[in-house]
């Protein structure tokens, strides 16, 4: 393997470090702004967004840069949805938008005007668990629990996708009705990483709910 031969001069390093500190100094888009504080950047107007979150209409005024994930967690205080990688790699932020699973980190809140968003808090509650939540508990489908809200939202959506005939990479016959098998659910859940490695038990929970 070749060895990279770049050289970083001290001056370039100092310039780079200065640029980094500018980034750090950029105002953080926290709830203070949502509560009516000064906009984070004078040149960019804040925008009002209204969406239905877990069945309730919610309006927030946001910097257009705010992701759906940060809106849910930092502005609406729905912290069930987790931030893992913030780049669509891990799936911890999976929510349902109009019934379809997406990564909330890779979506701008301003692009969800009028949308129906369901987070893990809207899937079920401690007093009225969704069957998928109950199955995750029964089968020990988690250890630390950080990926679990994303896993549960994704699993609920996967079962709907199979019903609708959405194929996967391991589907052998594209024309036949889709059915859930262990390889199918593992492939379909590959966008949800579990660092604790609870995959076998997650698979058992989903299989039970699917009745497969």
């Amino acid at each position: 393997m070749n060895t990279p031969d770049w050289e970083l001069s001290r001056r370039e390093f100092v310039v780079g470090a200065a640029a980094s500190s500018v980034i750090v100094a950029t105002p953080f888009l926290g709830p203070a702004h949502a509560a009516g504080g000064t906009p984070p950047h004078a040149a960019v107007p804040m925008m009002k967004v209204t969406m239905e979150v877990n069945g309730s209409p919610r309006s927030v005024t946001l910097d257009p840069r705010t992701s759906l994930l940060d809106t849910l967690r930092e502005h609406l205080r729905l912290t069930g949805t987790k931030k893992g990688c913030d780049h669509g790699h891990c799936g911890a932020c999976t929510v349902l938008v109009n019934g379809t699973r997406i990564n909330a980190c890779l979506s701008l809140a301003v692009m969800h005007e009028g949308d129906k968003v369901t987070t893990v808090e809207g899937i079920g509650t401690p007093d009225a668990l969704h069957p998928m939540q109950a199955a995750f508990i029964k089968h020990d489908g988690f250890q630390c629990g950080y990926c679990t809200p994303g896993q549960i939202c994704s699993a609920v959506a996967v079962l709907k996708e199979i019903e609708k005939g959405v194929p996967s990479h391991v589907t052998e016959d594209l024309a036949a009705p889709m059915r859930l098998s262990n390889p199918e659910l593992r492939e379909r859940m590959s966008g949800n990483i579990c660092r604790c490695g609870a995959y076998s038990n997650i698979a058992a929970a989903i299989t039970e709910v699917a009745g497969a």
Binding site: T3, L106, V158
Partner: protein, 316 residues
């Protein structure tokens, strides 16, 4: 992310007018690649024009028996469409080989065609990259090149096109329909849509500033057996090291394109013509001009073996 302003367009003409009128503006549809790059400040639009309300969300039969796919159709919708599953299996297979369920639910057909490359040095803003900062140099030339292109490269860039869907569209001879800033429409053959880097690697697509993809059309079905085989470092959710898209006929003829080996999906008609002679003949023709690097020379043999697997499946 740097600050940006945002607006929604309500027609293709309004969308191209809005992007053309504002320096630094970009279209946004699914946003799965653009927002990722904006977080790294690799893409730095100052204005986003949201095109998701445009009437480009349907898949329709064309008069000649083909399909017209709206640019805003999601990857999931396209892979799941009954006619795509039945008549264009290579396309369904290629799409579901890419990304994850969550990303395919959001990513659009137009946006997928425009996904940027995945060269690690393009993503590392601390290092030179001629795609990111034209004229700054190519870090990959002296760097780790295992995932990068072996053919079609230049001294300014060796990044590969990482797409899956585009490889299938190349085998199918898809056409890309666009509207430009003046409201004129045109059709670009998929073979001409992706540019080789030459000395302007920052220009990756045959689109003018402000030009918008409105749909992708497929010619009538080819018949044959459809295959997409992707070799990657893990079984799911990874970019290809090598992929093969093929439509094969019973007599041994067919069409074939290779993914992740070049700056564009790599389909060479002269190589395809020798399909009946076997995978070694095809690959030696298709990669005759290859300039692999020490780290990625294995891709050529891997392409041959992947094609051998596909041909074996096709004749099973």
């Amino acid at each position: 992310m740097i600050p940006f302003t945002y607006e929604k367009a309500d027609s293709p003409a309004a969308a191209v007018a809005a992007v053309t009128a504002t320096p630094g503006a970009k279209f946004i549809a699914g946003g799965t690649n653009l927002l990722d790059l904006m977080k790294f400040q690799i893409e730095t639009p100052t204005h986003l024009v949201d095109i998701r309300d445009l009437p480009l969300t349907t898949i329709n039969d064309t008069g000649d028996g083909g399909l017209r796919i709206g640019a805003l159709v999601t990857n999931t919708e396209l892979a799941s469409h009954p006619r795509v599953k039945r008549d264009y299996g290579v396309l369904s297979r290629a799409i579901v080989a890419g990304a994850t369920g969550q990303i395919r639910n959001k990513a659009s057909v137009g946006g997928n065609l425009l996904q940027r490359n995945r060269c690690p040095y393009f993503y590392n803003t601390d290092l030179p990259c001629n795609k990111r900062v034209p004229g700054s140099g190519c870090s990959a030339l002296g760097g780790i090149s295992r995932s990068l292109a072996v053919i079609g490269t230049s001294e300014s860039c060796i990044a590969q096109n990482p797409g899956d869907m585009a490889v299938a569209l190349t085998v199918l001879d898809a056409m890309v329909e666009t509207i430009d800033a003046a409201g004129r429409t045109r059709t670009i053959a998929i073979a001409d849509f992706f540019r080789l880097p030459g000395d302007t690697p920052e220009t990756e697509f045959a689109l003018q500033p402000g030009e918008l993809i409105t749909s992708v059309t497929l010619p009538p079905p080819l018949g044959g057996t459809h295959h997409y085989h992707k070799v990657r470092d893990r079984a799911s959710y990874a970019f290809a090291i090598v992929s093969v898209a093929a439509v094969l006929n019973k007599d041994g003829t067919g069409r074939v394109a290779f993914g992740s080996v070049a700056p564009k999906p790599w389909r060479i008609k002269a190589a395809e013509a020798v399909l009946p002679a076997g995978p070694a003949a095809v690959v030696s023709t298709a990669f005759k001009e290859a300039k692999p690097r020490e780290d990625n020379a294995f891709k050529i043999l891997l392409a041959e073996r992947t094609l051998a697997l596909v041909i074996a499946k096709g004749s099973a």
